[in-house]
C-alpha cells in the first residue's frame, strides 16, 4: 500500500471493521508512514473520548418505574384476554412479546409472572434470550472477518489484556486438545454488560465463548441447539459462560469443561 490510508479505512481500522486482507496492507503501511500512524492514533483517541462523553444521560427512577408498569399492564391484559377463551396465534405472539420484553427489561414485574409461570420456565426463557444475543455476536464475528482485539494463543497474554476492562476476572485452561487453539479475544457487551469473548478454534470450526459476571441465581442450561449451532455453558459462583459453535457438540462440551475446570479446579458435572 503506497498511497496513504483513507479516512474511511482509518475508521474501519479503529472500529475493528477492516477486512483481514486490507488489514495486513494497512499494518504494513502504518509501519512505514508516520503521518498515517498519527492519524490512526488520533482516530483511536477520538473514539475512546467519544465513548466516554457519549455516555451522558441516565434514565430517572420515575421513568424506569413507568416503563415497568407499562410492561406489567401489557402482560396482565394479555393474560386477561387469554382467560376469556381466545387462543389465536396472534394472542400467543403478543404474550410472547410481553414475555420477551419482560425478560429483556428484567424488571420487577417478573414476580407477577411467577404466579403463572414456573421459575424454571422463566429461567429457560431468559437463557434463550441470552443465547440468541450471543449467537448473533458469534455469527457477526464469523462474518466480519476482522481480527480480534487481542490476537494470541497464549493465555498469559489474553487474560491480562482484560485487566481494567472487566469488573471480574477468570482463568483460561493451560492444556488444550491437539486441534484446539485459543485464537484471541474481544471485549464485548451482553445485555449492556461487559463480557469477555474468547475465540477458540477446534479444527476448522470457530468457537465463541462468552464470559460474564454472574448476576442471577439460575443454573446454566444444558447443551442445546440454536439455528444449527450448538450451545453449551456453565456457571460458577461469580461467572456465567456460554459457548457457541457449529463444531461437534461433544467437542464443544469438552472445551467448556476445560474452561470450567480452570475456574474451579474440578470437573464439570455431566448434564
Amino acid at each position: 500500500m503506497s498511497d496513504h490510508i483513507s479516512s474511511q479505512q482509518l475508521n474501519a481500522l479503529v472500529d475493528g471493521e477492516m477486512p483481514r486482507d486490507q488489514l495486513a496492507l494497512a499494518e504494513q503501511h502504518l509501519a512505514e508512514c508516520a503521518a498515517c500512524t498519527s492519524q490512526a492514533l488520533a482516530q483511536s483517541l477520538l473514539k475512546a473520548a467519544t465513548k466516554q462523553a457519549g455516555l451522558r444521560y441516565r434514565p430517572t427512577d420515575t421513568l424506569e418505574t413507568r416503563i415497568g408498569e407499562i410492561v406489567r399492564q401489557h402482560s396482565r391484559s394479555r393474560r386477561g384476554t387469554a382467560g376469556s377463551g381466545l387462543s389465536s396465534p396472534a394472542w400467543l405472539s403478543l404474550v410472547g412479546a410481553a414475555a420477551a420484553i419482560l425478560l429483556v427489561a428484567s424488571i420487577g414485574g417478573m414476580a407477577m409472572w411467577n404466579h403463572h409461570q414456573s421459575e424454571a420456565d422463566v429461567a429457560s426463557a431468559q437463557h434463550a434470550a441470552l443465547e440468541t444475543e450471543m449467537l448473533d455476536q458469534h455469527i457477526a464475528t464469523l462474518a466480519a472477518d476482522s481480527p480480534p482485539q487481542v490476537i494470541s494463543s497464549d493465555r498469559h497474554t489474553v487474560k491480562p489484556w482484560f485487566q481494567g476492562k472487566l469488573p471480574f476476572s477468570f482463568n483460561l485452561p493451560e492444556n488444550l486438545p491437539a486441534d484446539t487453539k485459543l485464537e484471541g479475544a474481544d471485549l464485548t457487551y451482553i445485555h449492556g454488560q461487559p463480557a469477555a469473548l474468547l475465540l477458540y478454534s477446534i479444527g476448522k470450526h470457530r468457537v465463541s465463548v462468552f464470559v460474564t459476571q454472574r448476576t442471577g441465581g439460575t443454573p446454566a442450561p444444558g447443551p442445546s441447539d440454536r439455528a444449527g449451532f450448538h450451545v453449551a455453558g456453565f456457571n460458577t459462583r461469580d461467572l456465567d459462560a456460554i459457548a457457541v459453535s457449529d463444531v461437534d457438540p461433544g467437542r464443544l462440551s469438552g472445551l467448556v469443561g476445560l474452561i470450567f475446570q480452570a475456574q474451579s479446579g474440578v470437573t464439570l458435572p455431566a448434564k
Binding site: 503521518a35 483517541l45 467519544t50 466516554q52 451522558r56 444521560y57 420484553i101 427489561a105 424488571i107
Partner: protein, 176 residues
Amino acid sequence: MPLLPSLYNLALWLSRNSTDAEDLVQETFLKALRGFAAFEPGSNFKAWIFRILRNTYLTSVTGLAATRTVALEDEVAGPDGAPDAAYPEAAIDRQTPEINLLLLSDRAALEAAMEKLPSPLLEVILLCDVEDMKYKEIATVLEIPIGTVMSRIARSRAALRKLLEHPVTRAKEVRA
C-alpha cells in the same frame, strides 16, 4: 433493565429534551410490545428495538425538525455523495497526537462539539462508539447501506475534530 439506559441516552442526545426523551423511550417500549410478532427470533434484538426508537424519533416533532436539517446536510454533501466540504473525509490532521490528546481530554468541549453535530452524524457516532455496534448493526438501525454508515462515521469524526479545533467558527458552519 439493561437496554433502558442505552435507549434513553440516545433518545436524549437526539431530542435534546428530557421530557421528549422519556416520551420517546416510553413509545418505543409500547411499540416493541405491540409489534413483537414482527421480531424474527434469532435476529438482533438490540438493533431491532433501537430501530424502533429511531423511527419513533423521526416521526416526533423534534425528529421532523431534524429531518429538515438532514435534507440540508445531504444537499451540502452533494447528490452524488461527494464529501461535505465542511467535513472532508480525507482532511489531513495537522495536529500532533499530543495536541489531540489535550483537546480530547476536555470532556465538556467534546460534549459541546457533539451537541453541535447534525442528527445523522450524531446518531451514527453514538451507535458506533457508545453502543459498540458493528457497521452491519448500525446499517440495520438506520436503514442505510453499510457504505453510507462508513461515510457518515468518517464525516462525523472529521466534524468533531474540526469543532474541537475551532469551536466557534465550525459551529456556525454546521448551522449554515
